[in-house]
Amino acid sequence: MPMKRKPHLSATFALLPTWFVAVVVFIGTMGWSIRLSFTNSTLFPSSTYVGFAQYAKLFSSAKWLASLQNVLIFGVLYVGGCLLLGFLLAAALDRKIRFESAFRTIFLYPYAMSFVVTGLIWQWMLNPTLGIQASVRSLGWETFVLDWVVNRDMAIYALVLAGVWQGAGLVMVIALAGMRGIEAEQWKAARIDGIPVWRIYVSIILPQLGPALAAAGMLLAMGVIKTYDIVVAMTNGGPGNATEVPAKFIMDNLFGRQNLGLATAGATVLVLGVIIAVAPFRYAMHVRSKAKGAR
Protein backbone atom coordinates (compact mmCIF):
# COMPACT_ATOMS: atom_id res chain seq x y z
CA MET A 1 0.00 0.00 0.00
CA PRO A 2 1.29 3.45 -0.80
CA MET A 3 0.35 6.16 1.62
CA LYS A 4 -2.68 6.43 3.80
CA ARG A 5 -5.23 8.65 2.19
CA LYS A 6 -7.71 10.89 3.77
CA PRO A 7 -11.16 9.80 2.73
CA HIS A 8 -12.15 12.30 0.13
CA LEU A 9 -15.68 13.59 0.01
CA SER A 10 -15.97 14.12 -3.76
CA ALA A 11 -14.68 10.64 -4.56
CA THR A 12 -17.08 9.07 -2.10
CA PHE A 13 -19.91 11.16 -3.47
CA ALA A 14 -19.07 10.29 -7.07
CA LEU A 15 -19.34 6.60 -6.26
CA LEU A 16 -22.72 6.85 -4.56
CA PRO A 17 -24.78 5.94 -7.66
CA THR A 18 -22.60 2.90 -8.16
CA TRP A 19 -23.02 1.91 -4.52
CA PHE A 20 -26.74 2.19 -5.09
CA VAL A 21 -26.56 -0.07 -8.14
CA ALA A 22 -24.35 -2.64 -6.44
CA VAL A 23 -26.30 -2.86 -3.20
CA VAL A 24 -29.90 -2.12 -4.15
CA VAL A 25 -30.06 -3.30 -7.75
CA PHE A 26 -27.69 -6.25 -7.74
CA ILE A 27 -27.91 -7.59 -4.21
CA GLY A 28 -31.37 -6.28 -3.39
CA THR A 29 -33.16 -7.64 -6.45
CA MET A 30 -31.29 -10.92 -6.25
CA GLY A 31 -32.33 -11.31 -2.62
CA TRP A 32 -35.91 -10.49 -3.57
CA SER A 33 -35.90 -13.08 -6.35
CA ILE A 34 -34.39 -15.75 -4.14
CA ARG A 35 -37.00 -15.00 -1.49
CA LEU A 36 -39.78 -15.35 -4.08
CA SER A 37 -38.45 -18.76 -5.05
CA PHE A 38 -39.44 -20.03 -1.59
CA THR A 39 -43.01 -18.76 -1.87
CA ASN A 40 -46.03 -19.96 -3.81
CA SER A 41 -46.09 -16.80 -5.96
CA THR A 42 -47.82 -17.11 -9.29
CA LEU A 43 -49.00 -13.97 -11.08
CA PHE A 44 -48.23 -11.73 -8.11
CA PRO A 45 -45.65 -12.12 -5.36
CA SER A 46 -47.01 -13.95 -2.37
CA SER A 47 -45.58 -14.19 1.11
CA THR A 48 -46.72 -17.73 1.77
CA TYR A 49 -43.55 -19.71 2.17
CA VAL A 50 -43.52 -23.20 0.76
CA GLY A 51 -39.93 -24.22 1.44
CA PHE A 52 -38.30 -26.00 -1.43
CA ALA A 53 -41.58 -26.91 -3.11
CA GLN A 54 -40.86 -24.74 -6.17
CA TYR A 55 -37.47 -26.40 -6.55
CA ALA A 56 -39.08 -29.83 -6.26
CA LYS A 57 -41.58 -28.81 -8.94
CA LEU A 58 -38.78 -27.42 -11.06
CA PHE A 59 -36.78 -30.61 -11.01
CA SER A 60 -39.79 -32.75 -11.73
CA SER A 61 -40.59 -30.64 -14.79
CA ALA A 62 -39.67 -32.46 -17.98
CA LYS A 63 -39.20 -29.14 -19.73
CA TRP A 64 -36.68 -27.87 -17.16
CA LEU A 65 -34.74 -31.13 -17.18
CA ALA A 66 -34.70 -31.09 -20.97
CA SER A 67 -33.47 -27.49 -20.90
CA LEU A 68 -30.62 -28.40 -18.54
CA GLN A 69 -29.59 -31.26 -20.75
CA ASN A 70 -29.79 -29.08 -23.85
CA VAL A 71 -27.73 -26.27 -22.39
CA LEU A 72 -25.11 -28.79 -21.30
CA ILE A 73 -24.81 -30.32 -24.78
CA PHE A 74 -24.91 -26.92 -26.44
CA GLY A 75 -22.42 -25.45 -23.98
CA VAL A 76 -19.80 -28.18 -24.32
CA LEU A 77 -19.97 -28.27 -28.12
CA TYR A 78 -20.24 -24.50 -28.56
CA VAL A 79 -17.36 -23.59 -26.25
CA GLY A 80 -15.28 -26.53 -27.46
CA GLY A 81 -16.07 -25.75 -31.09
CA CYS A 82 -15.23 -22.06 -30.74
CA LEU A 83 -11.97 -22.82 -28.96
CA LEU A 84 -10.91 -25.47 -31.47
CA LEU A 85 -11.87 -23.60 -34.63
CA GLY A 86 -10.60 -20.29 -33.23
CA PHE A 87 -7.25 -21.80 -32.33
CA LEU A 88 -6.89 -23.52 -35.71
CA LEU A 89 -7.70 -20.29 -37.54
CA ALA A 90 -5.21 -18.35 -35.44
CA ALA A 91 -2.50 -20.94 -35.98
CA ALA A 92 -3.12 -20.89 -39.74
CA LEU A 93 -3.02 -17.09 -39.86
CA ASP A 94 0.15 -17.13 -37.81
CA ARG A 95 1.98 -18.93 -40.64
CA LYS A 96 2.84 -15.78 -42.60
CA ILE A 97 -0.15 -15.90 -44.87
CA ARG A 98 -0.98 -13.55 -47.71
CA PHE A 99 -4.14 -11.48 -47.23
CA GLU A 100 -3.97 -12.13 -43.51
CA SER A 101 -5.99 -9.09 -42.54
CA ALA A 102 -8.70 -9.92 -45.06
CA PHE A 103 -9.04 -13.40 -43.59
CA ARG A 104 -9.08 -11.98 -40.08
CA THR A 105 -11.85 -9.56 -41.00
CA ILE A 106 -13.90 -12.38 -42.53
CA PHE A 107 -13.52 -14.66 -39.51
CA LEU A 108 -14.45 -12.02 -36.96
CA TYR A 109 -17.35 -10.14 -38.56
CA PRO A 110 -20.06 -12.50 -37.29
CA TYR A 111 -19.06 -11.58 -33.76
CA ALA A 112 -20.21 -8.02 -34.38
CA MET A 113 -23.73 -9.23 -35.10
CA SER A 114 -26.39 -10.02 -32.56
CA PHE A 115 -27.57 -13.49 -31.64
CA VAL A 116 -30.98 -12.65 -33.06
CA VAL A 117 -29.45 -11.87 -36.44
CA THR A 118 -27.25 -14.97 -36.25
CA GLY A 119 -30.22 -17.15 -35.38
CA LEU A 120 -32.34 -15.79 -38.23
CA ILE A 121 -29.60 -16.22 -40.84
CA TRP A 122 -29.03 -19.83 -39.93
CA GLN A 123 -32.73 -20.56 -39.60
CA TRP A 124 -33.05 -19.44 -43.20
CA MET A 125 -30.04 -21.39 -44.50
CA LEU A 126 -31.17 -24.54 -42.72
CA ASN A 127 -34.80 -24.20 -43.80
CA PRO A 128 -35.40 -27.68 -45.27
CA THR A 129 -37.90 -26.71 -47.97
CA LEU A 130 -36.05 -23.72 -49.41
CA GLY A 131 -32.59 -23.66 -47.87
CA ILE A 132 -29.39 -25.63 -48.33
CA GLN A 133 -31.23 -28.96 -48.40
CA ALA A 134 -33.47 -27.92 -51.28
CA SER A 135 -30.56 -26.34 -53.10
CA VAL A 136 -28.41 -29.45 -52.95
CA ARG A 137 -31.37 -31.63 -53.96
CA SER A 138 -32.02 -29.48 -56.98
CA LEU A 139 -28.46 -30.18 -58.08
CA GLY A 140 -29.43 -33.83 -58.41
CA TRP A 141 -28.62 -35.33 -55.02
CA GLU A 142 -32.26 -36.10 -54.27
CA THR A 143 -31.79 -37.81 -50.93
CA PHE A 144 -29.63 -35.13 -49.35
CA VAL A 145 -30.84 -34.33 -45.83
CA LEU A 146 -30.06 -31.23 -43.81
CA ASP A 147 -33.16 -30.74 -41.73
CA TRP A 148 -31.50 -29.92 -38.41
CA VAL A 149 -33.73 -27.04 -37.32
CA VAL A 150 -36.89 -29.10 -37.65
CA ASN A 151 -35.46 -32.41 -36.48
CA ARG A 152 -35.81 -33.18 -32.78
CA ASP A 153 -32.52 -35.02 -32.57
CA MET A 154 -30.52 -32.48 -34.53
CA ALA A 155 -31.95 -29.07 -33.64
CA ILE A 156 -29.47 -28.51 -30.83
CA TYR A 157 -26.60 -29.03 -33.28
CA ALA A 158 -28.07 -26.39 -35.53
CA LEU A 159 -27.72 -23.98 -32.61
CA VAL A 160 -24.14 -25.12 -32.08
CA LEU A 161 -23.34 -24.53 -35.74
CA ALA A 162 -24.73 -21.00 -35.64
CA GLY A 163 -23.07 -20.30 -32.29
CA VAL A 164 -19.64 -21.46 -33.44
CA TRP A 165 -20.00 -19.43 -36.62
CA GLN A 166 -20.65 -16.37 -34.47
CA GLY A 167 -18.10 -16.94 -31.71
CA ALA A 168 -15.02 -18.62 -33.21
CA GLY A 169 -13.63 -15.29 -34.40
CA LEU A 170 -13.33 -14.03 -30.84
CA VAL A 171 -11.14 -16.97 -29.87
CA MET A 172 -9.11 -16.45 -33.04
CA VAL A 173 -8.41 -12.81 -32.15
CA ILE A 174 -7.33 -13.70 -28.62
CA ALA A 175 -5.21 -16.68 -29.69
CA LEU A 176 -3.57 -14.73 -32.50
CA ALA A 177 -2.65 -11.88 -30.15
CA GLY A 178 -1.15 -14.46 -27.80
CA MET A 179 0.83 -16.11 -30.59
CA ARG A 180 2.26 -12.78 -31.71
CA GLY A 181 3.47 -12.24 -28.16
CA ILE A 182 5.56 -15.40 -28.13
CA GLU A 183 9.26 -14.76 -28.50
CA ALA A 184 10.91 -15.56 -31.79
CA GLU A 185 13.75 -17.27 -29.91
CA GLN A 186 11.45 -20.10 -28.93
CA TRP A 187 10.57 -20.62 -32.55
CA LYS A 188 14.18 -20.63 -33.65
CA ALA A 189 15.21 -23.08 -30.93
CA ALA A 190 12.37 -25.44 -31.74
CA ARG A 191 13.02 -25.26 -35.49
CA ILE A 192 16.71 -25.98 -35.00
CA ASP A 193 15.76 -29.03 -32.99
CA GLY A 194 13.76 -30.15 -36.00
CA ILE A 195 10.41 -30.19 -34.28
CA PRO A 196 7.57 -30.16 -36.79
CA VAL A 197 5.44 -27.03 -36.88
CA TRP A 198 2.24 -28.69 -35.68
CA ARG A 199 4.10 -30.11 -32.66
CA ILE A 200 5.39 -26.66 -31.79
CA TYR A 201 1.82 -25.34 -31.80
CA VAL A 202 0.53 -28.19 -29.65
CA SER A 203 3.40 -28.52 -27.17
CA ILE A 204 4.92 -25.05 -26.98
CA ILE A 205 2.40 -22.45 -28.14
CA LEU A 206 -0.81 -23.94 -26.78
CA PRO A 207 0.39 -24.19 -23.15
CA GLN A 208 1.48 -20.55 -23.21
CA LEU A 209 -1.91 -19.49 -24.54
CA GLY A 210 -3.63 -21.47 -21.80
CA PRO A 211 -4.64 -18.57 -19.54
CA ALA A 212 -5.90 -16.41 -22.42
CA LEU A 213 -7.86 -19.30 -23.93
CA ALA A 214 -9.24 -20.20 -20.51
CA ALA A 215 -10.45 -16.62 -20.12
CA ALA A 216 -12.09 -16.74 -23.54
CA GLY A 217 -13.64 -20.12 -22.74
CA MET A 218 -14.90 -18.73 -19.46
CA LEU A 219 -16.51 -15.79 -21.23
CA LEU A 220 -18.18 -18.07 -23.77
CA ALA A 221 -19.37 -20.37 -20.99
CA MET A 222 -20.96 -17.44 -19.18
CA GLY A 223 -22.72 -16.64 -22.43
CA VAL A 224 -23.98 -20.21 -22.62
CA ILE A 225 -25.70 -19.94 -19.25
CA LYS A 226 -27.45 -16.80 -20.47
CA THR A 227 -28.31 -18.30 -23.88
CA TYR A 228 -31.68 -16.92 -24.88
CA ASP A 229 -31.77 -14.72 -27.99
CA ILE A 230 -30.32 -17.22 -30.41
CA VAL A 231 -32.82 -19.88 -29.34
CA VAL A 232 -35.77 -17.51 -29.58
CA ALA A 233 -34.70 -16.40 -33.04
CA MET A 234 -33.75 -19.77 -34.46
CA THR A 235 -36.01 -22.47 -33.03
CA ASN A 236 -38.02 -20.89 -30.20
CA GLY A 237 -37.26 -23.94 -28.08
CA GLY A 238 -38.64 -26.46 -30.54
CA PRO A 239 -39.23 -28.87 -32.07
CA GLY A 240 -40.88 -30.12 -28.88
CA ASN A 241 -38.44 -29.36 -26.08
CA ALA A 242 -35.41 -30.09 -28.24
CA THR A 243 -33.81 -26.65 -27.86
CA GLU A 244 -35.46 -25.43 -24.68
CA VAL A 245 -32.86 -23.70 -22.48
CA PRO A 246 -33.00 -22.62 -18.81
CA ALA A 247 -32.87 -18.88 -19.52
CA LYS A 248 -35.85 -19.26 -21.85
CA PHE A 249 -37.72 -21.47 -19.40
CA ILE A 250 -37.31 -18.74 -16.78
CA MET A 251 -38.42 -15.97 -19.13
CA ASP A 252 -41.48 -17.96 -20.24
CA ASN A 253 -42.56 -18.59 -16.67
CA LEU A 254 -41.73 -15.07 -15.56
CA PHE A 255 -43.61 -13.15 -18.21
CA GLY A 256 -45.61 -15.64 -20.25
CA ARG A 257 -47.02 -18.15 -17.80
CA GLN A 258 -47.11 -15.88 -14.74
CA ASN A 259 -45.36 -18.45 -12.64
CA LEU A 260 -43.12 -16.32 -10.46
CA GLY A 261 -42.17 -18.88 -7.85
CA LEU A 262 -41.06 -21.43 -10.38
CA ALA A 263 -39.25 -18.86 -12.53
CA THR A 264 -37.30 -17.41 -9.62
CA ALA A 265 -36.39 -20.91 -8.44
CA GLY A 266 -34.99 -21.54 -11.92
CA ALA A 267 -33.11 -18.24 -11.86
CA THR A 268 -31.62 -19.12 -8.48
CA VAL A 269 -30.41 -22.44 -9.86
CA LEU A 270 -28.86 -20.53 -12.77
CA VAL A 271 -26.99 -18.24 -10.38
CA LEU A 272 -25.71 -21.28 -8.48
CA GLY A 273 -24.62 -22.69 -11.82
CA VAL A 274 -22.58 -19.58 -12.54
CA ILE A 275 -20.95 -19.71 -9.12
CA ILE A 276 -20.08 -23.37 -9.59
CA ALA A 277 -18.71 -22.64 -13.06
CA VAL A 278 -16.70 -19.58 -12.07
CA ALA A 279 -15.39 -20.61 -8.66
CA PRO A 280 -12.78 -23.17 -9.81
CA PHE A 281 -11.52 -20.77 -12.45
CA ARG A 282 -11.22 -17.90 -9.96
CA TYR A 283 -9.52 -20.20 -7.50
CA ALA A 284 -7.00 -21.32 -10.13
CA MET A 285 -6.24 -17.69 -10.99
CA HIS A 286 -5.81 -16.91 -7.31
CA VAL A 287 -3.43 -19.83 -6.77
CA ARG A 288 -1.52 -18.92 -9.90
CA SER A 289 -1.06 -15.28 -8.91
CA LYS A 290 0.03 -16.36 -5.42
CA ALA A 291 2.54 -18.81 -6.87
CA LYS A 292 3.89 -16.06 -9.09
CA GLY A 293 4.20 -13.70 -6.15
CA ALA A 294 6.10 -16.28 -4.10
CA ARG A 295 8.64 -16.90 -6.80
Partner: protein
Protein backbone atom coordinates in the same frame (compact mmCIF):
# COMPACT_ATOMS: atom_id res chain seq x y z
CA UNK B 1 30.95 -20.12 -34.82
CA UNK B 2 28.79 -20.93 -37.73
CA UNK B 3 25.22 -21.59 -36.76
CA UNK B 4 22.36 -22.40 -39.04
CA UNK B 5 20.63 -19.08 -39.17
CA UNK B 6 16.90 -19.23 -39.81
CA UNK B 7 16.58 -15.50 -40.09
CA UNK B 8 15.33 -13.43 -42.99
CA UNK B 9 12.00 -14.01 -44.65
CA UNK B 10 10.50 -17.39 -44.02
CA UNK B 11 10.88 -19.88 -46.85
CA UNK B 12 7.70 -19.75 -48.83
CA UNK B 13 8.21 -22.44 -51.41
CA UNK B 14 5.05 -24.09 -52.52
CA UNK B 15 4.88 -27.20 -50.44
CA UNK B 16 2.01 -29.57 -49.75
CA UNK B 17 1.75 -28.01 -46.31
CA UNK B 18 1.33 -24.49 -47.68
CA UNK B 19 -1.34 -25.65 -50.12
CA UNK B 20 -3.16 -27.38 -47.30
CA UNK B 21 -2.93 -24.24 -45.19
CA UNK B 22 -4.46 -22.04 -47.87
CA UNK B 23 -7.08 -24.65 -48.62
CA UNK B 24 -8.10 -24.66 -44.96
CA UNK B 25 -8.26 -20.87 -44.86
CA UNK B 26 -10.31 -20.66 -48.05
CA UNK B 27 -12.79 -23.28 -46.87
CA UNK B 28 -13.06 -21.48 -43.54
CA UNK B 29 -13.57 -18.15 -45.27
CA UNK B 30 -16.31 -19.73 -47.37
CA UNK B 31 -18.03 -21.02 -44.23
CA UNK B 32 -17.92 -17.58 -42.64
CA UNK B 33 -18.99 -15.68 -45.74
CA UNK B 34 -21.72 -17.99 -46.99
CA UNK B 35 -24.43 -16.72 -44.60
CA UNK B 36 -23.73 -13.10 -45.49
CA UNK B 37 -23.81 -13.91 -49.19
CA UNK B 38 -27.04 -15.86 -48.76
CA UNK B 39 -28.69 -13.00 -46.91
CA UNK B 40 -27.76 -10.48 -49.55
CA UNK B 41 -28.85 -12.56 -52.55
CA UNK B 42 -32.08 -13.61 -50.84
CA UNK B 43 -32.96 -10.01 -50.08
CA UNK B 44 -32.61 -9.15 -53.78
CA UNK B 45 -34.85 -11.93 -55.08
CA UNK B 46 -38.58 -12.04 -55.66
CA UNK B 47 -40.63 -14.58 -53.72
CA UNK B 48 -41.25 -16.52 -56.95
CA UNK B 49 -37.54 -16.93 -57.34
CA UNK B 50 -37.08 -17.93 -53.70
CA UNK B 51 -39.73 -20.66 -54.05
CA UNK B 52 -37.51 -22.38 -56.61
CA UNK B 53 -35.34 -23.41 -53.66
CA UNK B 54 -31.97 -22.36 -55.02
CA UNK B 55 -30.72 -20.50 -52.04
CA UNK B 56 -27.21 -19.86 -53.36
CA UNK B 57 -28.18 -18.81 -56.88
CA UNK B 58 -27.68 -15.21 -57.87
CA UNK B 59 -30.88 -13.21 -58.34
CA UNK B 60 -32.12 -13.10 -61.93
CA UNK B 61 -32.93 -9.43 -61.73
CA UNK B 62 -32.06 -6.96 -59.05
CA UNK B 63 -35.24 -6.43 -57.11
CA UNK B 64 -34.97 -3.83 -54.39
CA UNK B 65 -38.63 -3.95 -53.37
CA UNK B 66 -37.92 -6.28 -50.44
CA UNK B 67 -35.57 -3.68 -48.98
CA UNK B 68 -38.17 -0.98 -49.25
CA UNK B 69 -40.80 -3.20 -47.66
CA UNK B 70 -38.41 -4.22 -44.89
CA UNK B 71 -37.60 -0.61 -44.12
CA UNK B 72 -41.06 0.89 -44.24
CA UNK B 73 -43.78 -1.69 -44.78
CA UNK B 74 -43.04 -5.02 -43.08
CA UNK B 75 -45.61 -6.16 -40.53
CA UNK B 76 -45.23 -6.88 -36.86
CA UNK B 77 -48.55 -8.44 -35.96
CA UNK B 78 -51.12 -6.01 -37.33
CA UNK B 79 -48.98 -2.92 -37.69
CA UNK B 80 -47.07 -2.64 -40.93
CA UNK B 81 -44.56 0.15 -40.65
CA UNK B 82 -41.34 -1.74 -41.27
CA UNK B 83 -38.13 -1.98 -39.34
CA UNK B 84 -37.43 1.75 -39.46
CA UNK B 85 -39.24 2.49 -36.19
CA UNK B 86 -37.05 -0.13 -34.55
CA UNK B 87 -34.00 1.44 -36.13
CA UNK B 88 -34.74 4.86 -34.68
CA UNK B 89 -35.71 3.31 -31.35
CA UNK B 90 -32.35 1.55 -31.24
CA UNK B 91 -30.58 4.82 -32.01
CA UNK B 92 -32.56 6.60 -29.29
CA UNK B 93 -31.73 3.84 -26.80
CA UNK B 94 -28.12 3.22 -27.72
CA UNK B 95 -26.66 6.71 -28.05
CA UNK B 96 -27.59 8.04 -24.58
CA UNK B 97 -26.93 4.64 -22.97
CA UNK B 98 -23.40 4.56 -24.36
CA UNK B 99 -22.65 8.18 -23.47
CA UNK B 100 -23.96 7.82 -19.95
CA UNK B 101 -22.39 4.46 -19.18
CA UNK B 102 -19.01 5.53 -20.53
CA UNK B 103 -19.12 8.67 -18.42
CA UNK B 104 -20.16 6.91 -15.22
CA UNK B 105 -17.68 4.11 -15.87
CA UNK B 106 -14.84 6.58 -16.38
CA UNK B 107 -15.66 8.41 -13.15
CA UNK B 108 -15.89 5.09 -11.32
CA UNK B 109 -12.63 3.79 -12.67
CA UNK B 110 -10.91 7.06 -11.83
CA UNK B 111 -12.31 7.25 -8.29
CA UNK B 112 -11.66 3.59 -7.57
CA UNK B 113 -8.08 3.53 -8.79
CA UNK B 114 -6.65 6.96 -8.05
CA UNK B 115 -8.64 8.03 -4.98
CA UNK B 116 -9.58 4.75 -3.40
CA UNK B 117 -12.12 6.10 -0.93
CA UNK B 118 -13.31 3.97 1.95
CA UNK B 119 -14.92 0.75 0.80
CA UNK B 120 -13.57 1.02 -2.75
CA UNK B 121 -12.48 -2.61 -2.82
CA UNK B 122 -15.78 -3.83 -1.43
CA UNK B 123 -17.68 -1.83 -4.04
CA UNK B 124 -15.49 -3.12 -6.82
CA UNK B 125 -15.94 -6.71 -5.66
CA UNK B 126 -19.71 -6.32 -5.49
CA UNK B 127 -19.79 -4.82 -8.95
CA UNK B 128 -17.71 -7.64 -10.44
CA UNK B 129 -19.93 -10.25 -8.81
CA UNK B 130 -22.98 -8.43 -10.15
CA UNK B 131 -21.49 -8.54 -13.64
CA UNK B 132 -21.26 -12.32 -13.55
CA UNK B 133 -24.82 -13.04 -12.44
CA UNK B 134 -27.37 -13.94 -15.14
CA UNK B 135 -29.87 -11.14 -15.73
CA UNK B 136 -32.85 -13.39 -15.16
CA UNK B 137 -32.53 -13.15 -11.40
CA UNK B 138 -32.70 -9.34 -11.45
CA UNK B 139 -35.54 -8.97 -13.92
CA UNK B 140 -38.78 -9.34 -12.03
CA UNK B 141 -37.91 -7.17 -9.01
CA UNK B 142 -36.46 -4.58 -11.39
CA UNK B 143 -39.64 -4.52 -13.43
CA UNK B 144 -41.63 -3.92 -10.25
CA UNK B 145 -39.26 -1.27 -8.96
CA UNK B 146 -39.18 0.54 -12.28
CA UNK B 147 -42.97 0.41 -12.48
CA UNK B 148 -43.15 1.97 -9.03
CA UNK B 149 -41.06 4.95 -10.06
CA UNK B 150 -42.82 5.26 -13.40
CA UNK B 151 -39.86 4.24 -15.56
CA UNK B 152 -41.11 0.86 -16.75
CA UNK B 153 -41.85 0.75 -20.49
CA UNK B 154 -40.18 4.09 -21.11
CA UNK B 155 -37.18 5.25 -23.05
CA UNK B 156 -35.55 6.63 -19.90
CA UNK B 157 -36.16 3.28 -18.21
CA UNK B 158 -34.46 1.14 -20.84
CA UNK B 159 -31.54 3.58 -20.98
CA UNK B 160 -31.15 3.38 -17.21
CA UNK B 161 -31.24 -0.42 -17.36
CA UNK B 162 -28.48 -0.48 -19.97
CA UNK B 163 -26.35 1.87 -17.92
CA UNK B 164 -26.85 -0.26 -14.81
CA UNK B 165 -26.02 -3.55 -16.48
CA UNK B 166 -23.09 -2.02 -18.32
CA UNK B 167 -21.51 -0.66 -15.16
CA UNK B 168 -19.50 -3.73 -14.12
CA UNK B 169 -17.61 -4.16 -17.39
CA UNK B 170 -17.20 -0.46 -18.12
CA UNK B 171 -15.95 0.26 -14.61
CA UNK B 172 -13.53 -2.64 -14.77
CA UNK B 173 -12.02 -1.49 -18.05
CA UNK B 174 -11.59 2.12 -16.88
CA UNK B 175 -10.24 1.05 -13.50
CA UNK B 176 -7.62 -1.14 -15.16
CA UNK B 177 -6.73 1.75 -17.42
CA UNK B 178 -6.40 4.36 -14.67
CA UNK B 179 -4.38 1.98 -12.47
CA UNK B 180 -1.59 2.30 -15.03
CA UNK B 181 -1.65 6.12 -14.86
CA UNK B 182 1.18 7.35 -12.61
CA UNK B 183 -0.17 8.39 -9.23
CA UNK B 184 2.22 11.34 -9.16
CA UNK B 185 0.15 13.02 -11.83
CA UNK B 186 -2.84 13.03 -9.55
CA UNK B 187 -0.79 14.05 -6.52
CA UNK B 188 0.89 16.93 -8.29
CA UNK B 189 -2.46 18.25 -9.46
CA UNK B 190 -3.78 18.06 -5.92
CA UNK B 191 -0.81 19.96 -4.61
CA UNK B 192 -1.63 22.61 -7.17
CA UNK B 193 -5.05 22.83 -5.65
CA UNK B 194 -7.11 20.94 -8.25
CA UNK B 195 -10.05 19.02 -6.89
CA UNK B 196 -11.57 15.67 -7.75
CA UNK B 197 -13.65 16.82 -10.71
CA UNK B 198 -11.13 19.25 -12.10
CA UNK B 199 -8.44 16.57 -12.19
CA UNK B 200 -10.92 14.26 -13.83
CA UNK B 201 -12.04 16.60 -16.58
CA UNK B 202 -8.76 18.35 -17.28
CA UNK B 203 -6.21 15.60 -16.85
CA UNK B 204 -7.63 12.12 -16.60
CA UNK B 205 -10.40 12.17 -19.20
CA UNK B 206 -8.08 13.52 -21.93
CA UNK B 207 -5.52 10.84 -21.03
CA UNK B 208 -8.22 8.19 -21.21
CA UNK B 209 -9.48 9.05 -24.70
CA UNK B 210 -8.23 5.77 -26.24
CA UNK B 211 -10.09 3.82 -23.56
CA UNK B 212 -13.17 5.95 -24.09
CA UNK B 213 -13.14 4.97 -27.75
CA UNK B 214 -12.61 1.28 -27.01
CA UNK B 215 -15.34 1.17 -24.37
CA UNK B 216 -17.73 3.12 -26.57
CA UNK B 217 -17.30 0.57 -29.38
CA UNK B 218 -17.87 -2.28 -26.98
CA UNK B 219 -20.93 -0.70 -25.40
CA UNK B 220 -22.38 0.47 -28.67
CA UNK B 221 -22.36 -2.96 -30.29
CA UNK B 222 -23.43 -4.62 -27.05
CA UNK B 223 -26.42 -2.36 -26.51
CA UNK B 224 -27.41 -2.28 -30.17
CA UNK B 225 -27.39 -6.08 -30.23
CA UNK B 226 -29.30 -6.47 -26.97
CA UNK B 227 -32.56 -8.37 -27.15
CA UNK B 228 -33.56 -9.44 -23.65
CA UNK B 229 -33.46 -6.08 -21.85
CA UNK B 230 -35.17 -4.27 -24.71
CA UNK B 231 -37.89 -6.92 -24.78
CA UNK B 232 -38.55 -6.61 -21.05
CA UNK B 233 -38.02 -2.95 -20.25
CA UNK B 234 -38.45 -0.82 -23.37
CA UNK B 235 -42.21 -1.03 -23.79
CA UNK B 236 -44.16 -1.31 -27.05
CA UNK B 237 -43.31 2.15 -28.31
CA UNK B 238 -39.57 1.86 -27.81
CA UNK B 239 -38.81 -1.71 -28.86
CA UNK B 240 -35.28 -1.91 -30.24
CA UNK B 241 -34.56 -3.18 -33.71
CA UNK B 242 -33.56 -6.68 -32.61
CA UNK B 243 -36.93 -7.27 -30.95
CA UNK B 244 -38.89 -5.87 -33.89
CA UNK B 245 -36.86 -7.94 -36.30
CA UNK B 246 -37.70 -11.10 -34.40
CA UNK B 247 -41.35 -10.07 -34.35
CA UNK B 248 -41.37 -9.52 -38.10
CA UNK B 249 -39.76 -12.84 -38.87
CA UNK B 250 -41.12 -15.18 -36.23
CA UNK B 251 -44.70 -14.08 -35.73
CA UNK B 252 -45.74 -13.85 -39.36
CA UNK B 253 -48.76 -15.92 -40.24
CA UNK B 254 -48.96 -17.75 -43.53
CA UNK B 255 -46.12 -17.67 -46.02
CA UNK B 256 -43.04 -15.85 -44.87
CA UNK B 257 -41.53 -13.22 -47.08
CA UNK B 258 -37.99 -14.44 -46.86
CA UNK B 259 -36.64 -11.67 -49.06
CA UNK B 260 -38.15 -9.04 -46.75
CA UNK B 261 -36.96 -10.94 -43.68
CA UNK B 262 -33.39 -11.08 -44.93
CA UNK B 263 -33.40 -7.41 -45.91
CA UNK B 264 -34.65 -6.56 -42.43
CA UNK B 265 -31.98 -8.78 -40.90
CA UNK B 266 -29.24 -7.04 -42.86
CA UNK B 267 -30.63 -3.65 -41.87
CA UNK B 268 -30.48 -4.69 -38.23
CA UNK B 269 -26.93 -5.96 -38.54
CA UNK B 270 -25.66 -3.05 -40.58
CA UNK B 271 -24.84 -0.63 -37.78
CA UNK B 272 -22.61 -2.97 -35.75
CA UNK B 273 -21.08 -4.24 -38.99
CA UNK B 274 -20.32 -0.69 -40.10
CA UNK B 275 -18.67 -0.04 -36.75
CA UNK B 276 -16.67 -3.21 -37.14
CA UNK B 277 -15.50 -2.49 -40.67
CA UNK B 278 -14.85 1.21 -40.14
CA UNK B 279 -13.24 1.11 -36.73
CA UNK B 280 -11.24 -2.06 -37.35
CA UNK B 281 -8.64 -2.44 -34.66
CA UNK B 282 -10.55 -0.29 -32.17
CA UNK B 283 -13.38 -2.77 -32.27
CA UNK B 284 -10.97 -5.66 -31.98
CA UNK B 285 -9.25 -4.01 -29.06
CA UNK B 286 -12.60 -3.47 -27.41
CA UNK B 287 -13.72 -7.06 -27.62
CA UNK B 288 -10.28 -8.32 -26.66
CA UNK B 289 -10.29 -6.03 -23.61
CA UNK B 290 -13.79 -7.16 -22.75
CA UNK B 291 -12.83 -10.80 -23.15
CA UNK B 292 -9.58 -10.91 -21.24
CA UNK B 293 -10.89 -8.94 -18.31
CA UNK B 294 -10.00 -11.85 -16.00
Amino acid sequence: MARPHPSGPKPTQITAGRIGLYAFLFVAALFFLLPLYTMVVTSLKTMDEIRLGRIFALPETLDLSAWITAWSGACMGTTCVGIRTGFWNSVAITVPSVALSVFVGAVNGYALSLWRPRGANVLFGLLMAGGLIPYQIFLYPMVRAMANVGLYNSLAGIILVHVIFGLPLVTLLFRNYFVSVPEELCKAARVDGAGFWRIFFEIMLPIAVPMVVVVSMLQFTGIWNDFLLGLVFAGRDNLPMTVQLNNIVNTTMGERNYNVNMAATILTAIVPLAIYFLSGRWFVRGIAAGAVKG
